[in-house]
Amino acid sequence: MAMLEDFRLLEKNGFRLLPYKLATEEDGAVAAALKIGYPVALKVVSEEISHKSDVGGVKIRIRDEAGLRLAYKEIMDSTKGHKVDGILVQKMARRGIELIIGGRKDPQFGHMVVLGLGGVYVEIFRDITARICPIAEQDVEEMIMELKTHPLLEGARGSKPIDRAALKRMVLGVCRFMEREDIKELDLNPVVFDEDGGDIVDVRFTR
């Protein structure tokens, strides 16, 4: 299963993912959620489905067993006709500021890392900045300051500043990962940061 292999490769490279477990039947999903702890998210795992949420393959903020059983059935229902490998049960991410951290192997410049404001408006605002790998912490600091929305990260309107050190570690980690594993394209989108750290919500990369 490509998705789990991807997860394992990320973990091997030092990324901490939200606790997850693959379930292949409803009771297994309930047991997994109990172990992980609510709230959780469910995501369909299928080689045939690339945009999971477009086909109703993602359910979030599930708070209890009843909700989980319902969500499980709904996902299985809406993905009928696809070959489904299972359902991923994953700890729900924190709430906070959504960012995108990505990377690309440029034909002329090689691996580069991208940081930007994430979320649904990412294509509209295009508030992104990039660097050629490898980079140092100072480069990440400059990247953050180049974002038009950087005041958001510094705690606009009463919210606390995000865990900047964790963000820097993650960007540096992406750079190292891109180079070490020779990644063609990568998206951590979104990653959610608050004052205590950041969670990777979704991952996609191609080698």
Partner: protein, 464 residues
């Protein structure tokens, strides 16, 4: 590459030049090239190479380069692509030091076989080659000129300290023409076309050591080795500021892009990242390019606090707006400065920043105000607005502003907005090397670039 780059200096300072394809038939490229050298007063020996003649425009002509009895340092080739590899090989065997190939018809039309033969000869003889498919070089110090556009159609700038390297001949020649028009001197012009043997990275490496060059303008369309470019920009930019312009920013969306990052971060994003990483100043268009270039003869500001002097209130306000919009600061003048400035102003004047000398102000008021603010440690740079239209202003102001620009305690920009009369002042100021702008926004943007460059060089204590 070392040996080839060492020999590249012969292309700019040759004792002799041979033009392959040299001719006297009107409007032929080979004729323009001969005339460029002869009428441009190139001081070394000039030969033509053309089997049809024994003499061209009074210069000896030979059937091939190796038939020239004396040593030849530089050869300019303007014959069809198919003939070029043999000519290059002949040059190598003769001991020519450097070659410029103007002819097109190589990689750009998928004739890599011809390009490969040139590369082979270049390696064999350690021969530097500029081109093919380019305009070659112009050096105002030695008058080497391989630009096949006649001088009466395309002005050549005088000697200066700015080198210009360009992939495109068309953009390159335009910049050259405008440089001459604005009175901006250059050290070297290099159009390298396909960059088959020597490309932009080699040029940066060469210019790093070039004595006449203190600043570099770089026009790029695409590069082969982005990593190497980044490394050379990092090496050269702190010593000789680089202003880069990238064309082709909005190419086709990448077919392979499946991720958000792939969609968002196209190829230009990589260039931009590299410019940022090397702290290279990026110009978005030719106007920016000239605006930015002019200010780099000024000392690097220690901070972003700007003092504004004006003889017209409104223009001062517009300048203050531009300062705020660029994220720079309006300086607070010291108490000493304020006291000194009060003496300069008429009784009804107010000391503030912008400092409005009012329309009655003459040349002396400018002179004194500039001196006061030059000594104020709370001011990092000066934006001097000059309304040339007021009665007391006359040509003596050129001297005052030139002194301010040459003072070198603080960076100075001058802003004069107006028509033909004002333009004449601007030209006069520019000819003295005074950064002169016709809009507050372009002046302050340029000042901001210089201030950024200065900050990058670590002259500003990092903001906490």
């Amino acid at each position: 590459m070392d040996e080839r780059l060492r020999k590249l200096s012969y292309v700019f300072k040759p004792r002799s030049i041979a033009i392959v394809g040299g001719s006297s038939v009107p409007n032929k490229i080979g004729t323009v090239l001969m005339k460029n050298l002869i009428e441009g007063r190139f001081m070394g020996d000039i030969y033509a190479v053309n089997p049809k003649y024994t003499e061209v425009l009074g210069k000896p002509c030979y059937p091939k380069v190796s038939a020239i009895p004396k040593a030849v340092d530089c050869v300019i080739i303007a014959t069809p692509a198919e003939t070029v590899p043999d000519v290059v090989e002949d040059c190598g065997a003769k001991g020519v030091k450097g070659i410029i190939v103007l002819s097109g018809g190589f990689e750009e039309v998928a004739r890599n076989d011809l390009a490969d033969r040139i590369i082979a000869s270049s390696k064999k003889y350690k021969l530097p080659i500029i081109g093919p498919n380019c305009l070659g070089v112009f050096d105002p110090y030695t008058r080497v000129d391989s630009i096949f556009l006649p001088a009466y159609k395309l002005e050549r700038p005088g000697p200066g300290n700015i080198a210009f390297i360009t992939q495109s001949g068309a953009v390159g020649s335009t910049v050259l023409d405008l440089s001459a028009h604005y009175g901006m001197g250059i050290s070297k012009f290099i159009s390298y076309g396909n960059g088959t043997v020597l490309n932009e990275c080699d040029m940066l490496e060469f210019l790093e050591k070039d004595k006449e060059t203190e600043m570099i303008i770089m026009y790029l369309e695409g590069v082969k080795d982005g990593r190497r470019l980044l490394e050379w920009m990092k090496t050269v930019n702190p010593k000789k500021p680089i202003i880069a312009m990238k064309a082709g920013k909005f190419g086709k969306a990448m077919a392979a892009a499946r991720s958000h990052t792939g969609n968002l971060a196209g190829n230009y994003m990589a260039y931009k990242a590299a410019f940022r990483q090397a702290k290279v100043t990026e110009a978005d268009d030719l106007q920016d390019l000239f605006d930015f270039v002019k200010i780099f003869n000024q000392p690097l500001p220690k901070g972003n606090r700007v003092g504004v002097i004006t003889n017209g209130g409104g223009m001062g306000v517009l300048t203050a707006d531009a300062i705020n919009a660029e994220g720079m600061e309006i300086a607070d003048f010291s108490e000493d400065s304020k006291a000194a400035l009060k003496k300069i102003l008429p009784s009804y004047g107010n000391v503030g920043n912008p400092l409005d000398l009012v329309a009655d102000a003459g040349v002396e008021a400018y002179d004194k105000a500039i001196e006061v603010l030059m000594a104020d440690s709370g001011v990092d740079s000066l934006a001097i607005v000059l309304l040339t239209q007021t009665p007391p202003i006359d040509e003596r102001i050129i001297g005052v502003l030139t002194r301010a620009s040459d003072d070198k305690r603080k960076a100075v920009v001058t802003i004069s907005v107006g028509g033909t009369y004002t333009e004449a002042y601007q030209r006069a100021l520019e000819s003295k090397g005074v950064p002169s702008y016709n809009s507050p926004v372009s002046a302050i943007k340029a000042l901001h670039m210089l201030t950024n460059y200065s900050a990058w060089k670590g002259k500003i204590a990092k903001k906490a």
